[in-house]
């Protein structure tokens, strides 16, 4: 072997001690599984990487030992290389002379230690000697350590980039040393400290004697600096190592606790600006790393960006395109990244504050635009999200205005449901955004009181005509007159228009409508005004009403229809304003029938003022009135029912008589 080594090195005599021979032969055996006599380049590469030396050191070693010349690692070159590795690890320059002396055995990280232990700590240096003889059986277990088996050529190519910018601005070794590499190795350390460590990595290649040795057997142990980071990094600068990924993970968590969520562009910008790289370079890094072009970084994108920044800091030339090893799909670290899961969450959390502009028009226009021109631009979608977030706030404002115009049938309960639906949708995923828009479209079927886009107008107009305004008063009439035709008409009306319960639409209604209704129904205010002081009486009276015999409704119905006609002819009044008026008026009829003098006319003015004073408590009264109305409608319906039953009986009797007559007549005719 010595002769081989001598031959390989061109005459330099290299002696291997016994221990060295044992170890190196083991390694040699390792590197040539096929037993062809030449170590496989890949295995050699792995071995060299395991030596934890910087890439250009290894490069130098390769050159020096003559493998470059030969193109492969012959036996001699292999041993020389091993010795040179030992020399390098001992801090000696990589030269043939250095291998002449007594050297400790070259130590290989992956081979002598557990695969997980990328950073053998101090005690390992003590163990390295007993480990080395056992290095041969260890290697198979270390294969998983090398996630990326490379050929030697790739390694050399990867080395060339580190070599070219090798003359980097030398950072102070103090910064390099001061990096307190401990078991933490990431997270709390500032970005600068990290950069300081990595920046000075390049200086290691020149110095090659910095106290950044892992396996210090003969030298005092310096602070264990993560040369592993730099070395692994230099094997292939475009590959993220385990510890780097851990570091990135912690940094990501500091920005965004949820690993599956996104970091917004501005957050990332602020963070990466701390690295003191020039903005155009950061811009380029962003371009490279934001793969899905959504203006935000997922965890993998963040790792890529961070890695590129680190590379740039170490004076690596940024590639024009993303290296395949850095592509998000390449590295599967077990961090399950669901990029599509919840981007909305991040966007909304930070966007809701600025999206507080209740520009309703825009909020409606934008989803329309996005529906029509859904080119899936992420910016558009994010704007939709913003608009969506503003929508719940907008919708709550809309509720009040909507109530003004909405027919009384529309239960306001539906509104809170719609807004709730929207709010729920807002927090759902991006694929649900069309559904959100659908929900919004549905909610837009209600008539709006504000101007909106043409599409909304069209929708509104389409909606408004079909919406029948079946005033409850129409069906609510006590028009169960004995006039059958009228009764049938009215019952037909009731059945056709469909009895809609009088809306308890009173609570959300703003007091303005009440004022409006008051002002508008001035001609009825006389009637209405009378009612108010008599509310208490009405309740009593209504009970009396319900107990009145059904025959009375006829008379009352006539009166009520007459009285109801004028309000019906008043379409422009707020319907909800009508609602309290109608029952009030209905109550008025019994009042009039019971010969209560309508003495309210002189007091109308007073009652008007009273009504304005009662505005604050209007809503409560409205609820009461609604309850009363419901009871009245119930009473009316039962009355109607009884009357109809009677008529049915009558008709049935008639039919029976007619049938009997027909039967009597039939034998006569047939005969």
């Amino acid at each position: 072997m010595d002769q081989g080594a001598a031959a390989g090195t061109g005459g330099t005599f290299i002696s291997l001690s016994e221990v060295e021979q044992k170890c190196y032969s083991g390694l040699y055996a390792l590197c040539q599984p096929d037993g062809t006599g030449t170590p496989a380049a890949g295995k050699v590469a792995e071995l060299f990487r395991a030596s934890q030396l910087p890439a250009d050191t290894l490069h130098q070693i390769t050159e020096v030992c003559g493998a470059k010349r030969l193109g492969y690692f012959g036996c001699g070159q292999f041993y020389v290389a091993l010795k040179l590795i030992a020399a390098a690890q001992a801090g000696l320059p990589v030269r043939l002379e250095s291998v002449g002396g007594e050297l400790p055995l070259s130590v290989f990280v992956g081979i002598t230690h557990d695969p997980e232990m990328r950073y053998p700590a101090h005690p390992l240096t003590n163990e390295s000697q007993p480990h080395i003889p056992g290095s041969a059986p260890r290697p198979p277990a270390d294969r998983p350590v090398f996630r990326h088996p490379e050929s030697i050529t790739d390694k050399q190519e990867a080395w060339s980039p580190p070599r070219s910018p090798g003359i980097s601005p030398p950072r102070s070794p103090s910064a390099y040393r001061s990096y307190p590499y401990s078991a933490q190795r990431n997270g709390t350390d500032a970005l600068l400290a990290y950069d300081g460590k990595l920046l000075s990595r390049s200086s290691v290649s020149q110095e090659n004697s910095s106290p950044s040795h892992y396996f210090v057997r003969l030298q005092p142990e310096p602070p264990p600096i993560t040369r592993v980071l730099s070395v692994d990094y230099s094997e292939d600068p475009w590959r993220i190592t385990e510890e780097q990924r851990e570091y990135y993970t912690n940094q990501f968590k500091s920005l965004q606790p949820d690993l599956n969520a996104l970091i917004l562009g501005t957050t990332a910008k602020n963070f990466f600006t701390k690295s003191k790289l020039p903005i155009p370079e950061l811009s380029h890094i962003w371009e490279l790393s934001d793969v899905d072009k959504d203006g935000a970084l997922t965890f993998s994108e963040f790792c890529i960006a961070f890695h590129l920044i680190v590379a740039r800091k170490n004076s690596y030339v940024l590639p024009e395109t993303l290296p395949p090893t850095l592509k998000p799909g390449y590295v599967d670290q077990g961090v399950t990244l669901s990029e599509t899961t919840q981007p909305l969450i991040v966007l909304i959390d930070t966007v809701t504050p600025p999206a507080s502009q209740p520009v309703r028009k825009q909020s409606i226009i934008s989803p329309q635009d996005n529906i029509t021109a859904l080119s899936a631009s992420p910016c558009e979608l994010s704007s939709v999200d913003r608009q969506v977030t503003s929508r719940p706030g907008v919708n709550t404002c809309k509720q009040d205005t909507r109530d003004e115009r909405r027919q009384s049938e529309f239960s306001p309960k539906r509104l809170p449901d719609a807004s709730e639906k929207l709010i729920q949708r807002v927090s759902t995923l991006k694929p649900d955004s069309p559904q959100e828009l659908d929900a919004i479209m549905k909610s837009r079927t209600r008539p709006r009181s504000y101007s909106s886009t043409s599409i909304d107008d069209a929708m509104k107009k389409a909606e408004e005509p079909p919406t029948p305004p079946p005033r409850p008063q129409k069906t609510h009439s006590r028009a169960s007159s004995l006039d059958l035709n009228k009764l049938f008409q009215q019952s037909g009306q009731a059945s056709k228009s469909g009895w809609l319960p009088p809306p308890p639409a009173l609570p959300p209604r703003p007091p303005a409508t009440q004022i409006f209704s008051f002002q508008h129904g001035s001609n009825k205010n006389t009637q209405k005004a009378v009612q108010q002081p008599n509310f208490a009486d009405f309740s009593r009276f209504r009970e009396k009403e319900t107990s009145t015999p059904p025959q009375r409704p006829g008379m009352r119905g006539g009166l009520s229809t007459e009285d109801l006609a004028p309000p019906k002819t008043d379409p422009s009044a707020a319907l909800l304003g009508h609602a309290p008026q109608k029952p009030v008026r209905r109550k008025l009829h019994p009042d009039s029938q019971s010969a209560t003098p309508p003495s309210g006319t002189p007091s109308s003015a007073a009652t008007l003022t009273k009504s304005t004073q009662r505005l604050p408590s209007k809503q409560k009264r409205e609820i009461q009135m609604a309850i009363r109305k419901n009871r009245e409608t119930n009473a009316v319906l039962t009355r109607l029912n009884s009357e109809l039953q009677q008529q049915l009986k009558v008709v049935h009797r008639e039919r029976v008589t007619l049938e009997s007559q027909l039967d009597l007549l039939r034998p006569v005719t047939s005969a």
Binding site: G265, K269, K293, G295, E320, I365, Q368, T372
Partner: protein, 153 residues
């Protein structure tokens, strides 16, 4: 090389002579032209075309922006070349100057060029390190534009 060129001719790739991106305030964000002819001339052409663009987008009189077409079409032809325009919803204008000798131009091809430009521009906008109003210095954008430009070889 000649073989390549002939292949290009067969493929009928539309090559622009000058591509410009102009901001809302009518200053250029990005302008790149084939260096053979005087670039100043192209700058001037693009500048004059802005008037036509303004006329097209303001003269429509439609109240709703989404009803306006983004692609403006041929802005005006000169004897040497034709100028096409495209404006985004945020009033950023793209102008493409094409050589007149390229007679086999189809509208769709110009549209697709604008679409590519617009997409690339959107990507630039999404970059948080890009401040709207800055010159566009994105390499990706450059590559897209370079792919569209006539190869001066």
């Amino acid at each position: 090389m000649i073989g390549l060129m002939s292949r290009d001719l067969r493929v009928r790739v539309i090559m622009a002579v000058c591509i410009a991106v102009i901001a809302k305030e009518n200053y250029p964000l990005y302008i790149r032209s084939v260096p053979t002819q005087g670039e100043l001339k192209f700058h001037y052409t693009v500048h004059t075309s802005l008037d036509v663009v303004e006329e097209k987008i303001s003269g429509v009189g439609k109240a709703l922006a989404d009803q306006r077409e983004l692609y403006l079409g041929l802005l005006y032809p000169t004897e040497d070349y034709k100028v096409y325009g495209y404006v985004t919803n945020s009033k950023v204008k793209f102008v493409i100057v094409v050589d007149s000798s390229n007679t086999s131009l189809r509208d769709n091809e110009i549209r697709s060029m604008f679409r590519k430009l617009h997409n690339s521009f959107t990507d630039v906008m999404c970059n948080p390190f890009y401040n709207p109003g800055d010159q566009i210095q994105s390499k990706a954008f450059d590559s897209i534009v370079a792919a569209m430009m006539v190869q001066a070889c």
